[in-house]
């Protein structure tokens, strides 16, 4: 892998901030009761999302998971339409019908995520198969958490992706826990690359908080797939800030390590500075710019109207009205 350019590194860095600021704004608005439903926040995993986004081309597909709000706009959809979707507004990318777990954008090959963890792994297989049969050179990336490795679809999708040499990029965000259950308590191994290797899928494990390492591993994986050699599996070892529902349940040491010592943005910033790519002021300016950008999206979402009631019964079938509008 050649070293990446300064511009590219800075772009990766900026997009980590965009994810960070997006999630923070979203969490804030959620707590203020502006965002309905449930929310799974990707704070702490910014490097993985930035690495994935900068590897995928527009013609590649993405199946984001529940912590991938960041990927939704990094894939190319205007961020305000993503934010509006999460607010359930008419201007949302799915007119407010999908929400946090179902924000797709066909125009950039974002296939939306899925509230049923892991089920979309076989859908991604199907997209990859379809494109392969059509002679396209696109790949389908699917983001899966460590907990999700428990699902039967994990096995079915990996096995068939291998047999069919389907262009599937499995990007596994191993943040150590499902909701509260640790990866080692859930699975026969803590290293999910082990599960991939059984299917003869090339697999690499990488520090998901190290943006350059994450980026380069993802690039390598994509290159392999684009060369027609079949699926690839990248496991990012990372950590999420959000302890989910029940508050913090993880050892204080672990929390400190990941939030302070091994925190992806801080590490990247120090490295960019050390390498002389940008001054601290320049780097701080990026943060400020991003913040303004994201708050603009929040304002847009908040000002957007609620969906047209007709949307509630539209698109159940292609071309037909639903059966019972009224009783």
């Amino acid at each position: 892998m050649p070293e990446i350019s300064s511009d590219q590194y800075l772009a990766l860095f900026r997009d980590m901030w965009r994810v960070r600021k997006f999630e923070q704004a979203l969490e804030r608005e959620f707590k203020r009761g502006k965002v309905p439903g449930m929310l799974h926040i990707g704070l702490g995993q910014e490097a993985t999302l930035s690495a994935i986004a900068h590897t995928l081309r527009k013609e590649d597909g993405i199946f984001p998971d529940h912590r991938c709000h960041g990927l939704l706009f990094l894939k190319g959809t205007p961020g305000k339409q993503i934010m509006a979707e999460l607010f359930g507004r008419a201007t949302g990318i799915c007119s407010g019908k999908g929400g946090s777990l179902h924000s797709a954008d066909a125009s950039v090959n974002n296939f939306g995520d899925n509230g049923v963890q892991g089920s979309y792994m076989v859908t991604a297989l199907g997209v990859a198969l379809g494109w392969k049969m059509q002679g396209k050179n696109s790949l389908a990336a699917v983001v899966v958490g460590d907990g999700t490795a428990g699902r039967g679809e994990w096995h079915e999708s990996m096995n068939l992706a291998s047999v069919w040499k389907a262009p599937v990029l499995f990007v596994c965000v191993n943040n150590g826990y499902a909701i509260s259950t640790s990866v080692g308590a859930s699975h026969a191994t803590e290293d999910l690359v082990d599960f991939a290797k059984a299917y003869k899928i090339p697999a690499i494990q990488v520090d998901g908080n190290d943006i350059l390492a994450a980026y380069q591993a993802t690039q390598e994986a994509a290159a392999h797939i684009r060369a027609g050699k079949g699926p690839y599996f990248v496991e990012y070892k990372t950590w999420r800030w959000q302890g989910m529902f029940s508050g913090e349940f993880r050892p204080a040491e672990e929390v400190k390590y990941f939030k302070e010592e091994h925190e992806p943005i801080t590490m990247a910033k120090a490295d960019l500075h050390k390498k002389g790519i940008a001054s601290l002021e320049q780097l701080d300016a990026i943060e400020k710019e991003v913040e303004a950008e994201i708050e603009g999206w929040v304002a847009y979402a908040q000002e957007s109207p609620m969906p047209d009631p007709a949307k509630a019964t539209a698109n159940v079938y292609v071309g037909w009205e639903v059966e019972s509008w009224q009783s």
């Binding site: 899925n114 089920s119 199907g126 997209v127 049969m133 679809e153 079915e156 159940v316 071309g319 037909w320």
Partner: protein, 325 residues
């Protein structure tokens, strides 16, 4: 017109559509060289090759997932689940993905898949190879359930289903596979969501589908001798089903018998009976009767199985009951 079996009729439809449209392909277990457990895809492998007549392992969730995903990017998959009883293994894929992608993404994607599967009892298949499964999916908006009762409809409905943009569960009753009928060569369509009056009558309306259509016709035939005129309606599409044809008929006859092979409670028959009673209330001269399978799993031993499934005689009893005889 050739006289061919239902298996051959569906096979013709698949061959025709694959030849016409590169996007159409088949996938499923042993559908390739072997042509499937029931021979429905026989010959297609030789004609179209293993890429388009694609063998899979026993991975039902992946079969449906691969179908849906490829459909979302423009393919037209026809997936086979060998026996309908196995469809519980990919239920989530059908209900939460196939049936919802169009709606939840606000029309951006669609999932034009056809999911073929062999259903129905009567041959000693036992609890896991005999069930009618439409009842498992009747409460699932977004899904279409198609179920032919004749070779003619089987071919026409398959062609229409492949051309349709919605996810379609296509039920093939095993008892009808070897049944023969006149089938035009070449392409023709049979509309979705339109029931067919397969026998006109004046005294009572029998609403049914698949194998039970033939039980109903036999019962009607026998009752004709007794001066009873029975109208038989073959639903053909089970969800969303054709309220209009059924209600018009009941408005004329004033009496209805719903016949369904699946267990009585909570099945297709319940929805039909409910709609008739609710919508044709003032026309009804007697309560609707449901003639269905008993509320049991399917036992293996043939005499037990025969006991729990509806047949011509039970349909007759139902008709006589609503006639007050």
């Amino acid at each position: 017109m050739a006289v061919i079996t239902t298996v051959q009729a569906i096979n013709e439809a698949l061959g025709l559509m694959m030849a016409e449209d590169q996007r159409v392909y088949c996938l499923g277990e042993d559908i390739g060289k072997m042509g499937g457990d029931f021979g429905v895809t026989r010959g297609l492998f030789d004609e179209f090759g293993g890429e388009r007549v694609r063998d899979t392992p026993l991975s039902e969730a992946a079969i449906v997932g691969a179908a849906v995903g490829s459909a979302m990017v423009g393919m037209r998959p026809v997936a086979e689940i060998m026996f309908a009883d196995f469809i519980g293994t990919c239920y989530d894929q059908i209900v939460n993905n196939a049936a919802k992608v169009h709606y939840m993404f606000d029309g951006q994607f669609k999932a034009p898949i056809v999911l073929r599967t062999a259903c129905g009892g009567g041959f000693g298949g036992g609890p896991h190879h005999s069930q009618q499964v439409e009842g498992w999916f009747m409460n699932v908006p977004g899904l279409v359930i198609v179920a032919p009762a004749s070779p003619y409809d089987a071919k026409g409905l398959m062609i229409t289903s492949i051309e349709d943009d919605n996810p379609i569960l296509f039920l093939e009753h095993k008892a009808l596979y070897r049944q023969k009928g006149e089938v035009p060569e070449g392409k023709y369509t049979v509309p979705l969501r339109q029931a067919k009056v397969v026998r006109p009558g004046k005294d009572v309306t029998v609403v049914t589908c698949m194998k039970s259509v033939h039980d109903a016709l036999a019962a009607a035939q026998e009752l004709e001798a007794d001066g009873v005129s029975v109208e038989v309606i073959d639903l053909r599409t089970l969800r969303p089903w054709d309220h209009q044809t059924v209600l018009e008929s009941v408005a004329r006859t004033g009496r209805a018998v719903v016949v369904n092979e699946a267990p009585k409670t909570g099945g297709l028959g319940a929805d039909i009976s409910a709609v008739i009673s609710e919508e044709a209330f003032s026309y009804l001269k007697a309560p609707v009767a449901r003639i269905c399978g008993f509320d049991t799993p399917i036992p293996f031993s043939l005499p037990l199985e025969k006991l729990i499934l509806p047949d011509k005689d039970r349909v007759k009893q139902g008709i006589l009951k609503v006639l007050g005889k």
